[in-house]
Symmetry: C2
Subunit: 384 residues, 2 copies
Amino acid sequence: MNYFSSDFKLGILGGGQLGKMLLYETRKYDIHTLVLDPSEEAPCRIACDEFFTGDLMDFDTVYNFGKKADVLTFEIEHVNVEALEKLEQDGVKVYPSSASLKIIQNKAKQKLFYVDNNIPTAPFSRFAYTNEILTAVKNESLSFPFVWKSAQFGYDGQGVKIVKTYSDLDELPNTECIVEELVPFKNELAVIVARNVSGEVKTYPLVEMEFHPTANQVEYVICPARVDIEIAKKAQLVALKVSAALEHVGLLAVEMFLTQDNEIIVNEVAPRPHNSGHYSIEASYTNQFEQHLRAILDLPLGRADSKVGGVMVNLVGSEGYTGNVFYENIEDIMKIEGVTPHIYGKKQTKPFRKMGHVTIVHEELDRAREVAGEVKKLIKVISK
Amino acid sequence: MNYFSSDFKLGILGGGQLGKMLLYETRKYDIHTLVLDPSEEAPCRIACDEFFTGDLMDFDTVYNFGKKADVLTFEIEHVNVEALEKLEQDGVKVYPSSASLKIIQNKAKQKLFYVDNNIPTAPFSRFAYTNEILTAVKNESLSFPFVWKSAQFGYDGQGVKIVKTYSDLDELPNTECIVEELVPFKNELAVIVARNVSGEVKTYPLVEMEFHPTANQVEYVICPARVDIEIAKKAQLVALKVSAALEHVGLLAVEMFLTQDNEIIVNEVAPRPHNSGHYSIEASYTNQFEQHLRAILDLPLGRADSKVGGVMVNLVGSEGYTGNVFYENIEDIMKIEGVTPHIYGKKQTKPFRKMGHVTIVHEELDRAREVAGEVKKLIKVISK
């Protein structure tokens, strides 16, 4: 199919900042786009050809929207997967597939999938309700501390808690969940795998994530990760194994831990362009958004390696500020060479809300990481 | 002023492919944009916040549009410059300024400006009407061959002709024009200079343009130009001199010839992002569109040097095809590493119409140029 000169229509479920960055790339290929999002003020609104508002979890809304598209994708996992299944039966191409999304949407299913496919992951137990954990602790089949994860709708560190005491347990919602062993790790790592419809595969370099000490949010993403080449290779092989086992079409961001014993274990995956790949806009030969498009349109994949060292800093709302956003010192960070801010366009800030990101590129990765530290110190997302 | 969190509005005159690429960058900064273009189907339509249709040469239309903006810029030179002057008097910030544009809009004025400012350029004569040339030839104050240029509205090689005989003269429109000596040159070169409101200046590397042997259109732009470092330095100094003399704010693309004697002479300039800078999207630390924004918003300029070697190939309609466009073999070129097509979204092709461009990047410039040749051979812009 020649997407560049036809009446082809691409549908995107979700109109947030990921969708917005994906839409930039559709413009490069002149692809006609439809977006569905619950908010009238979604960032995607002005970058697509046709915008629809509606509930992404509602079967009819998603089904009726999907029928307008030739290829359907999503920028968020929380969409009605039964509607995607029905659309696939009707002949709409849904990438990533409903089968892939179904496994990923539910963290208990995701973990079982890893076990079934011999993919290394932390030992875990599944519970239909959080209050069943109490019984397990009392029976001594489980002991503090451990990691609790809601099976559904976990996002950005919400839905994940480290449980150390009985009272920590009381604060959790009573929902389907998993409990994981607290594996001591040296590093959080990620690999993005791109796989197109025909099965061509490319992996991005291993990246390293530095977390905020208290907020459980990524502060820096560093590409390439500063680890041994052998570890990077091992991590890429694990990521490829996950993508192949899922027969995943599109991008798959595989988040991993490097354990104290230099083992790689999979934490979780995201079936879409991912925060850990934002550096690619400035640093990679093919950015993750263009690559996702190439993959789901069954175009040849682009080079996934980097031109230069890249570090990404998340721009989140500073603690103590809620209200109309103001980016303090943004001009000061732009004075520094190799610094590009990306502002998502949310009008209101609140503590730890993701408001944008900043990419720092440099021939020398160490210098990029130094500058990232300076950027982090200078810029403040406050209200005025 | 903090553009990133205010009610600031940027107005853009012209809604073509240059405006579209500029708009991608405004999204990165979340800047509210207004676009004026005569066509309901302008490529910018879906990428701006507010779209207006109207004649760019009409005083009232441009003035009334400009009044809505805090900063006004243009992606095309053919706009009503008197309206820009009035807007400046009213306090609207117009960048590049009406004074700069006025000099550039008219090729006779532009040439006189070079002479007045000691900027090297080919010897020339100015004529109020083309038919006055005949008298000059007969008086032997002018002899064949020479270059004829319409003083106004020259664009993309139209409005420029090499005149070798009396009958060539007959085919020209009877308009204000200049006649230039046909200077034998080794190379066509260009430098893009960025200058922000505060006067900070950055120059992009010298690029080399390879022209189509018959169509007088650029086929390849190669960055950096394959010339001596001394020539590159000289060209950059000449370009800086033009930008400074104009007190130009925004991008200024300075097209030059390298003569047989290794002298640099200025051919003409464009006060905006330019075809010779498209390679920058993939190859430069800061692409020309982001740089233009930084300049006109008085933000610090970004690095203008390159991460990798870059070559751009213009995608123009193949001879013999007019109608609904079809990009033959586009998937084949995308299979080659480092190749990114940019499709402008024009539905109809005709011979030599600019339909898009392709960028090729590689660590080794020579390899990028080789691939560009392969791309040029493979892809055909035809109708179906």
